[in-house]
Symmetry: C2
Subunit: 321 residues, 2 copies
């Protein structure tokens, strides 16, 4: 739940006048997304999303994200497209923040995940990876091994200990293990890197598109599947739903088959992905002041997933063979 | 910032199928309003507001609010209208809550109040009062004198003391004074009772309508003006802006002139209105758990307004004569 920057009517009207998107008839803050301020902008031409980029997004990196969305949409990936202003620029300034208007993507994200969602997700993810092949720009994944170490150093050990006894030692050990185990030579390309259910829209039984590309980067394609495996295929009791996992892989491989090396690396990539969200959630958990508007997510959910992937002895545990 | 009830896709689709409003293409929680869960529902026919009534609203009273909105819209007041389902009912159930779909009102609420807003507000408020004359239903104001006493009894005195030393005594004294001073015989009708800036929409320089009638009740019409005086005419430094107050009254009286008795009662009504919002804010302040999603509003803002109105010796202080 976001909306950090309050936009005045005068600022908004001046901003909108740079575009050819009709007259504003409404602008309401959306209670979704935690990284940026999002408004649903209603104009006489229809609905748009107005995004103000908050401090977690580095302004220098914004052109990468904007260009990527444009590239993906041109290549046939269903995703929001930045709207160019009359001067041809999509990235502007509003209320002192970088801001863009993007098209409204029809659909809703699924609140209760069923196996067929995972099949559709797999297809959409592979289509994204294929479309990303022709995108020339690169952006390092600042939330991979090095980034995890930097983040871990910033987390107060005694606060982490309060979350679960032994947690700092467990994470330190995991960083050592993953540094040894981490793959060196898998297919690389544009990954979404944050494809949680609230970033995947559905209409009826079909995926209508992907949103929120602000963690997108250049990394192992199979790492993106590991992120989805963690975000989509576990039940609330902490157990992996192997049917969902198998659907995810089947959907993905119907568009882009995985190499044997990619499959082999999955338990390690899934451990890494679990550690990544454990660390960012843990950081937010121990650094969010009491009474903050945004409730931090429980890091222990990802600790459980991490422990599961450590116990995995082969990819059959994911319904793969 | 609200959205308390999360609606599943299946529940939503079943709910929408009872209406003739096209197919759903999006449904996003709105970060506005604190009493109910509001979603901006985008369909192939356009935008609508989906409201789920949360626990602060008594379900028994919902027909009053729904019927009032219908009556006002029929009488020419610009406000959202409840949408009837195919069976003719506007009030239904969604995710275990009473729920309604209401039309989307064009416009935005003003973030920075200027004097001309107050003129338009005054006109719109008087138009509401005139239109309400022909509304047959009645609803007592449960947040007037008796309600304030009940609410005050529920507030922990030592917690109130922590907000400002002497506050419990001040409120107790105020309740005694207002019981003596409160008018008995002013024009009565439907009042909005909560007409803060976020409930009044503007397009360009004109008021495009009023929203959020869920505190509406039958009470002194002039009390509604006192609520607006407190909510619209004070600057952030705590001072009354007499120009804004004069515009509010001028706008109101251009549609419905105030009687001498109504004018005379304004300092008392303004004290009462300040006490009402002081009490509800104080109650929320001392009863909101740390870390809650909704940040309670500072009750001291209304304590300052209350003290101002106590010091007023005549209506000239409000720019009236």
């Amino acid at each position: 739940m976001a909306v950090y920057t309050e936009v005045s009517d005068d600022d908004l009207n001046a901003f909108i006048s740079a575009y050819d998107i009709g007259d504003v008839v409404g602008c309401k803050g959306i209670a979704e997304g935690v990284e940026n301020s999002n408004y649903l902008l209603q104009t006489t031409k229809g609905p748009y999303i107005l995004t103000l980029y908050e401090k977690r997004v580095n302004p220098v990196e914004l052109p990468f994200f904007i260009d990527l969305m444009e590239h993906l949409a041109r290549t046939g990936v269903r995703c929001p497209v930045p709207v160019m202003a009359k001067d041809g620029k999509a990235l502007r300034t509003l209320s002192g923040r970088p801001a863009a208007i993007i098209t409204f993507l029809n659909g809703m994200w699924p609140r209760r995940i069923e196996a067929w969602h995972c099949l559709e997700l797999g297809k959409a993810l592979a289509e994204l990876h294929v479309a990303g092949k022709s995108f020339a720009q690169k952006r390092a994944n600042n939330l991979s091994l090095d980034g995890w170490k930097t983040l871990f150093d910033k987390i107060d050990a005694s606060a982490a200990q309060d979350v679960e006894t032994g947690l700092p030692n467990l994470i330190a050990g995991e960083l050592i293990d993953l540094t040894k185990l981490w793959p060196k030579d898998l297919p690389v390309g544009v990954i979404h890197a944050d494809l949680f259910p609230d970033n995947v829209f559905f209409m009826g039984k079909a995926c209508s598109g992907l949103i929120d590309f602000y963690f997108a980067c250049t990394d192992f394609l199979a790492y993106d599947i590991a992120v989805c495996l963690n975000a989509w295929c576990f039940e609330t009791d902490g157990a992996l739903n192997v049917t969902k996992a198998a659907k995810l892989f089947a959907g993905y491989e119907s568009v882009r088959p995985l190499s044997p090396a990619e499959k082999e690396a999955l338990p390690t990539l899934a451990r890494g992905s679990a550690l990544r969200f454990l660390l960012t959630r843990l950081y937010d958990w121990v650094n969010t002041p009491a009474g903050a508007l945004v409730k931090p997510k429980d890091p222990r959910e990802y600790l459980r997933k991490l422990k599961f992937h450590r116990s995995v002895t082969g990819i059959a545990a994911y319904g793969l063979n």
